[in-house]
Symmetry: C3
Subunit: 472 residues, 3 copies
C-alpha cells in the first residue's frame, strides 16, 4: 500500500455523523481564529528573553517532552539512547539524528494518542512537513525541519505572534528572580509573557532542598524567613512582585487536596521544627494543608486567581528518578478525595465571591461525583479543564459529559495547555476547540441546545471563560 | 440573530443517527402515553389535600427547587435575593417578580443541564409558554404563568389527573401522622397518593432533635419508646399504619451502606446510651447499620419493598446550613463501598426471595464494579435507577451502559422521579423514557437486540418493572 | 408479532453510522479468519485427552456456566433447579430437559448481556440452530443439539481444529500432575494445549487445604517442602515441568495487588508459622505480596510471562458457598489501588525488559487513572484486556477509550477469552475483534488514524500482540 501524505483533515475529531459534523464545523469556524489564552503552562521564559533559533528537531521536539519519551521507554527503549540527560552527567546519546531515527521507527506507538496528534499537527502546520515520519523519511524530514528552524519567522517571538497568543503564563517558584520576565518586559517586545506564583518548593517541607529554598526566599524577598511570620511576609512580598510582572494567578501542586486551618501557634511550631530539619511527612502534610488556606486568604486580599493540582504520586520510579531526576514521565495519578479534604477550605472561603479557586483533577471518577457537585454549589470554586493525561480527545469528551449536567458550562474555566512544548500550543488549543465544537454539535443535533445558544457557548469555552476566571 | 421560539423537538434526546432516531421514535411512541408510576418522591401531600391554586411562578418553580438555586448561588447570586427563607426569619427578597427576573437573566447557566431541560418542557407543555425565558421576556412570561395558574385545570388534583399519574408516593417520617394522606383518602378524590416509610429521624441518633423524635414516635404510635423493645415495636406499628394508608415501600437515607448484625443486648445498650444523650458518631453508625438489618427483617414480614440511599455528605456547607437549613443544594456525593458494607445484610437476607431491596448510588463508579455484579447474583437485591445528579440524559445513558451487561434489564426497577417539584414530573418521566428508547434503539441498530425484544423491554422499563418491584 | 428467526447480522456490534460501519466491516474482514490464540483460560484439558462427545445441551451449556446461572439465580430461580451440584451431594434437578426448559423460559433475562450474545452465536454457528430459544421451541432445540453433539465433527478435538485454535492454554495448580496434558501430547494429536502455572493454592496461606496442598506439592515435585527453601525450590521445579509441557505463562489471582519485598528471614518465619497452622490473614497477605515478587524473579530467570488478577472478593455469599462451593457467580469486584500496591514490585522489576508482567483489573476506574499511566511508563508492565464482567461490547469499548490515549495500543496484550466454556471461544474472539474493528473505524472516520494504520493495528490487536506478549 502507498503510504498517504501527512495531512490534517479539516473535520478531524468531529463526529462522523453528517449532521453533527456540519454543525461542529460551523461552531469550530467561529472560534478557530480567536487569540490563544495560555494562563497555565510551563514554557521557559528564557525562550522569549533570548529569542534564539531552536537548535534542532530532536532538541525541540523529543528531549524535553516526557509524554513522548515515556512511551518509548515503556517499550524498552533506554532513556539514554533518547538523549535524556543523566543527573550524574553520564554518557547519553549525543547524535540527535540517531535519536530522531529511533523516534521515527517507533512512531507507530503514538497512534491514537494526544502526543501523536499534536506532533503531527505541529509538523504540518508549524513546520510545513508534508511526508509521514517513518523509518525511511526520518533523515529527510530532520533536514527539512533543520532548515525551517533557521528562518527568522521561526524564532520564538515570531512564533508567539504567529500563533496569535494573547497572553502566556509561565509557572515560577517564589525563589525565582523573574529576571527573564523582566528582560522580556524591558526589551520592548509586546508579547505578553507573565509569571504564575507556585510556592511548592517553600510550602512543602519535603521539597528537595527545602531549607536552602527558604534561604533563597529570604534573599530574593529581602525578608528574614527564619520565623514563620517572616516566611508568610516573604510570600506576600513575592506575590506582590509577581503581580508587578503581570501575574494574575497562583498554583499549588499537592499530593492530596487535604486542607486544615491551624492556629498561628501550631503553624509556628511546625515551621520551627522544619527549620531544625526535624519535620516528618505528616508535619509536611499538615503545613501544606494549612498553606492552601493561607494562599486562599492572600488571594482574597490581592485578587490573584488560585489553582490547586492534587492527586499525583510524583516520581513513582525511584530508579529513573535517581538517574534522570524529576519530570521524566514517572508521575502517576492516584485516587483523590475532594469532598472531605477540601471541606475546611470551602467552609472558610468557599462562599466568598472575591475568590476564584480553580481545582484540577487527574482522577476522572471525581468529575461527576465530587467536583461538579461542589463547583455547582460553592461560589468560589471552579473546575479546571481535563488535565494532563486527560487533555485528549476522549478525555475532554468524558470531562464535558460528566461535568456539564451538574456544574453547567459556567463553572468551568476554559482550556489550559499546561505544556513545556511551546510549538505544540496551537495544536493543543485547536484540539480542545474541536472537541468542544463536537460536543456542542451533538447537543444541537439532539435538540438539547438551540444553535444560537451553542454559538455563544463555544466562544465562552474557547475564550471568555479563561479571560474572566484568570483575570486576564 | 432572531431568538427562536421556545419549542420542543419531538425527537429530542434521540441519537442524530437517522436509523437509530427512527427506531427510538418508534419505541418511544409505545410508551409515551403510558400512565406515570411515581413510587419514590418528595411532593408534599398537603398539595392534594388542600387542592389550592399554585400561588405564582416564583413560588411554584424557583423557591422550592434546590437544583435550580444551587446553580445560581454557585455563580455568586445570594440565596436571599432568590427568596430562599432564612432560618432566623431574616430579610429576604419578597418581590417574586424581581426573583423571576434574576432567574431569567441567568437562565443561560442551565444550558445542557437537566434542570434547564425539565423547566423548558414544563413551560411549554404544562404552562403553555411559547417564548424563551430571557431578560426581555421575563415579565410577560411571569404574567402569562400567573394567569395559567388560576385556571381550574391547573389545580393540583386536576394536574395530577392530566399528567396521567397512576400512583404517587410521598416520603414520610414515622412521626408523621399522615393526616394529609387521610384527608385525601376521605375526600373521595380518586387520585392514588400514598406514603413511604422513611425512619431516618428516629433510627439515626445524630438526626436533629432525635430525642424529641423518639417522644413523637411514642405519641403517634401510642407505644412507650423509652426502651429499645418499645422503639422496635413502635416502628412496626407505624409501618402497619403506613400500609393502611397505601404504603408499599420504605426508604433509608444513610451516609454509608454500612450494615451490621448486633445482638439484642448490644442494640439495647446503644439505644439506652442514646436515650441518655451520650451516643457518639460511631454509636450512631452501628445503630443505623443494625436498623438497616431490622428494616429488612420487617420487610420480609410485612412485604414492603425496601430502599437504601447511601453515599451523600449532607450539609457540606455549614454556613449555608446555619442560615438556610437543610436541602439547600449543599449535599455532596462521596465515594461509596457497597461490597464490604452490604455484606452482612446480603449474607443474612440477600438470598431471600420475599425481600425486594432496592439499592441506590450516587457514586457512578459502583455501577459496573459493585452494584451490577451484586444485583446480578443476589435474588433480593435490585439496583435503583440513575439518581439525583445522575437523573439526566448523559447520566441515564451511563447507567444503562454500565449496568445492563452484567445485571441485565431485569435487576433494575424502572424510573423514579424523586422530586419535590410536582409540575416537573411529566418532563422527568418523558426524559427517562426518551433515553431508554434511545439506548434500546442503539442496541437494535447494532443488532444486539431484535426489534420485538426492544418493544417488550421499553414497556418493562417505563412501566412494568416499577409496578412489580414497588408492588403497586 | 411473528418471532424472527435466530440470525446473526454480519455487521452486528458495529456502529450504525454508515461510514463507520463500512470501515469496521473492512477492518474486521482482515482478521475474522485469523487463528485464535487462547493464552489464558479455564477449559478442562481432560476434554481433549478423552475426546468424548459432549453429553447433552444442559451439561454443555448451562451447568458449568456461572455467568449464566448467576443471572437466573438473581431472579429467584434456585441453583438446585438448574442442576448445579451440591457440596453435600444433596438432591438437585437431574432432568436436563427440565433445566433447559427453565433457561428457555427465562432467556429474556440475557438481553443485551455478553452471555446472551455468546450463546446466540454458539447456537447459530457452532450448533446450527435456526430458531430462537423460547418456551415453545425449547424441547425441539434440545433434541436438535443432542443430535448435533453426537456427530464426529463435534468431538472436542474436531471442534478445536474447526475453531482454528492455534494454541489453548489451561490454568493449572503447581500440585497438578499435568497428566492430561501429557496424555494429549502423547496421543499424537497436533492440537496445541498447554498449561499455565497458577500457584495460588500454595502461595496463599488462606487457600482451602493449604497444608495439604503443600504436601501434594512435595509429592508432585519430589522436593521436601517442610522448609521455605524447599517450598521455593519445589515451585521452581514445577515451573520447569510446566515449561516442558509447553507452558509460557504464569497467573496469580490475589485479593489486592499488594506487593512487598521480605527478607529471607521474614519469609522463613511466616512460612514456618503457616506450617504450624498459625498464620493470620495478615501473614497471608504479606506472604502473598512477597510471592508476587518471587514469581517476578523466577519469570526473569525462566522467561515465563507473568500475570496478576487482583481485585475480586471471592465467595461473597457464604450461604451459596457452603451449599455449592466456589465459582458459583458469587465473586464480586471491589475498588483496587495499583499505584501504591504495585510500587515495590515495579520499583524492583518494572525497568526490566526481560520481564513481561500483565496486570488485569476488574475496577474500570483504574484504566485511565492508574494502569494506562503505569503501563505507559514501566517497560515490564502491560495491561491485560477488559476482563470478566467487562469482557463485553460496552466493556471493551470503555477499555479502549480509557486505555489507548495514555498507554497506546502496544502496551496492551491482545484478547484473552478466560473461559471454562469451550464452545463459546469463537464467539468471544469474534466479539472482541468486532469491537476493536468498530473502535478503529471510529478513529479512521474521525481522521485520528489513517486507514492503513488501522489495518495494521487490527491485526496487532487480534493476533500479534498476544503472540508476542505470551511468547507463543
Amino acid at each position: 500500500m502507498v503510504r498517504p501524505m501527512l495531512q490534517l483533515d479539516k473535520n478531524r475529531y468531529f463526529s462522523a455523523n453528517p449532521e453533527e459534523r456540519r454543525i461542529a464545523r460551523h461552531l469550530f469556524d467561529l472560534v478557530k481564529d480567536l487569540p490563544l489564552l495560555c494562563p497555565h503552562g510551563h514554557v521557559d521564559p528564557k525562550l522569549f528573553a533570548a529569542n534564539e533559533p531552536f537548535p534542532d528537531p530532536t532538541a525541540l521536539l523529543i528531549i524535553p517532552d516526557h509524554y513522548l519519551f515515556r512511551m518509548l521507554y515503556s517499550q524498552g527503549i533506554p532513556l539514554e539512547s533518547l538523549g535524556v540527560p543523566r543527573v550524574d552527567g553520564g554518557a547519553i546519546e549525543e547524535d540527535h539524528r540517531k535519536i530522531w531515527q529511533i523516534v521515527a521507527e517507533n512512531f507507530y506507538l503514538f497512534r491514537a494518542t494526544p502526543t501523536g496528534g499534536w506532533l503531527k499537527q505541529e509538523m504540518v502546520e508549524v513546520l510545513g512537513i508534508k511526508k509521514r515520519l517513518t523509518s525511511e523519511t526520518a533523515m529527510a524530514i530532520y533536514d527539512e525541519i533543520q532548515d525551517v528552524l533557521k528562518r527568522p519567522e521561526n524564532l520564538p517571538r515570531a512564533m508567539f505572534e504567529r500563533f496569535n497568543i494573547e497572553v502566556l503564563s509561565t509557572t515560577d517558584a517564589p525563589t525565582d528572580t523573574l529576571a527573564y520576565h523582566r528582560q522580556i518586559k524591558e526589551s520592548g517586545w509586546k508579547g505578553r509573557v507573565i509569571p504564575a506564583f507556585r510556592p511548592d518548593n517553600v510550602t512543602d517541607f519535603m521539597a528537595a532542598d527545602w531549607q536552602h529554598n527558604i534561604e533563597k526566599l529570604a534573599d530574593v524577598s529581602g525578608i528574614d524567613t527564619s520565623s514563620y511570620a517572616g516566611f508568610i511576609q516573604a510570600i506576600e512580598e513575592r506575590r506582590a512582585r509577581f503581580r508587578e510582572m503581570g501575574a494574575t494567578s497562583t498554583d499549588q501542586g499537592v499530593t492530596t487536596p487535604f486542607t486544615i486551618e491551624l492556629t498561628a501557634d501550631q503553624a509556628i511550631l511546625l515551621y520551627e521544627k522544619a527549620m531544625r530539619g526535624e519535620a516528618t511527612t505528616d508535619d509536611a502534610r499538615l503545613f501544606t494543608g494549612h498553606m492552601i488556606m493561607e494562599m486562599a486568604r492572600m488571594s482574597i486580599e490581592d485578587g490573584m486567581t488560585m489553582q490547586i493540582h492534587p492527586g499525583v504520586v510524583r516520581n513513582h520510579n525511584p530508579g529513573v528518578y535517581a538517574k534522570f531526576g524529576p519530570d521524566k514521565g514517572c508521575d502517576i495519578p492516584s485516587a483523590t478525595d475532594y469532598v472531605t479534604n477540601l471541606k475546611p477550605l470551602l467552609n472558610k472561603y468557599g462562599n466568598e465571591t472575591r475568590l476564584t479557586l480553580i481545582v484540577f483533577t487527574i482522577d476522572e471518577t471525581t468529575y461527576s461525583r465530587e467536583l461538579a457537585p461542589l463547583a455547582g454549589h460553592y461560589p468560589a470554586m471552579k473546575v479546571g479543564p481535563a488535565w494532563w493525561f486527560h487533555d485528549s480527545r476522549e478525555g475532554m469528551l468524558r470531562y464535558r459529559r460528566m461535568m456539564t449536567e451538574t456544574a453547567g458550562f459556567y463553572n468551568g474555566v476554559g482550556f489550559i495547555d499546561d505544556t513545556r512544548a511551546f510549538p505544540s500550543i496551537p495544536a493543543r488549543h485547536d484540539t480542545a476547540r474541536r472537541i468542544d465544537a463536537r460536543y456542542l454539535a451533538e447537543l444541537v443535533a439532539e435538540h438539547v441546545l438551540d444553535l444560537d445558544e451553542a454559538e455563544e457557548v463555544i466562544v465562552d469555552l474557547a475564550y471568555r471563560l479563561s479571560k474572566k476566571n484568570y483575570r486576564l
